[in-house]
Assembly symmetry: D2
Homo-oligomer: 153 residues x 4
């Protein structure tokens, strides 16, 4: 379940023609790029840009990805991707997502999803973030933690 | 669990440069396109080309997609995607996937995944395949059914 | 050469992680999707949404595409795509593009490009727009024509 | 103009569903990924894998890309991309391409294109290949040169 409005981010996008397929809807693989845009925006807005994390030697490779598609999204549709930290642990970070028609409050989402990320070094080896980058770990806890680690909400 | 060799298909591909990201590995969203190639090949090889299904008014939109990434895939790596029908019901079809280094027998897969598809008409409305296209339903059962509907293997 | 500010549109975007490649920059193929976003926005803003043109049976397939890359674009960079109608004829429409760092006025563009589009019917056959859809033709002339057909500026 | 059969490479591919758009054809941006596959295969087959060039500190960023689309390519179509070195200079390398229906000899290509690549170091700065990597330069001349530098054929 998503956290309150305060803890979640929202990213707006328009479905690109290149993202459609011959079924006339946005191809399902694109949602994972949209999720990525949303968590990038969330982290940047909270003062912990993923770009800077990478520059500091930390990677967040996706180790699991999931999406349920509830309604089609079409070319030129304006959408909002809601994103929140679902779980934060020393070795991994989980984000939750819901995709909405832009401006929608309530109703059913277009899609919902989840990505799980490991903390890794530049060679892709798993690391415990609190050990190798205690500063980044504290910051992640502070900026994402309000929406994390509380299953059941 | 995948079925025996006989019921699964295998599609070979090479990781494209365009599929890498700045982490130096294949971007996670591409695996869903690889899954799609694999199920396309499986269906064509079994005599039930998805292209023909579509020409006949049936769509198989993805309603759920999942992937677990176990090891990175890199540019120019040759991979094999193993695919099998995991479940076949009157309103939906589930495929399972495992991605392997090309030629690997045994060892750990690079990734594993699942996609769930609804049967839909050209407008995207859900249909019971056995009602609207009993011929296609019988054929699907025959060509995919040997690997489907037997959880626990 | 691009037209004056009035005739050109500007679309803002951020480089997605999925758009980078292992060279650490935005992969060159993505620029063509960015061009597409820009001409989609330009046409919608001018009251002639491409979505509506398609709904009315007209397609604008790309018959030629070109891009020169002058400087790399990187993950999370904010860019602006400038777009204008370069040429409008009864059977085809040409757009010109320049990609800028967001907010830049002057200096060198990141990239520049061009796409040529045919007018086609739903089956992809070329049509003379003024004959099959005189209304759309007039509207295109009105909304795009101010920046078109004047080589040498 | 392409060189003789001996100097050109051919790469076979099938159009992926994800590569189609709602016009029902392969989206034009994908052709640039197909060109990339073809030149990757050509170089690997000639014993000068791009993967190894990169590992040795050399990059070949695209500085110009062009494609003319002559006929649509559709989902599940099997295509062949013909590729050859059109020009090789100390600071850049140009490839030419033609896309054919698989197995076609003669007739009209589906598309034709060109990409121009700079030689660059790991930071993306232009280099004269013969100076920084004389071995790679000699090898490139040997393996690609037979099809290069002869305009007018």
């Amino acid at each position: 379940m998503p956290p309150g409005e305060a803890a979640a981010g929202r990213t707006r996008l328009r479905v690109r023609y290149a993202e459609t397929d011959q079924m006339g809807v946005a191809h399902h693989a694109n949602y994972f790029s949209w999720f990525e845009m949303a968590r990038t925006d969330l982290m940047r807005q909270r003062g912990l840009a993923y770009r800077d994390l990478e520059a500091g030697g930390i990677r967040l490779p996706v180790i699991e990805a999931w999406c349920r598609y509830r309604a089609p999204a079409r070319y030129d549709d304006e959408l909002e991707v809601e994103v929140w930290a679902e779980d934060l642990r020393p070795t991994r970070l989980t984000f939750g997502y819901r995709v909405w028609p832009a401006g929608a409050r309530g109703g059913a989402p277009v899609a919902e999803g989840r990505t799980v990320h490991a903390f890794a070094d530049v060679r892709g080896r798993p690391v415990r973030l609190e050990r190798v980058r205690p500063d980044a770990w504290s910051q992640l806890q502070r900026v994402l933690g309000s929406g994390a680690g509380r299953p059941g909400r």
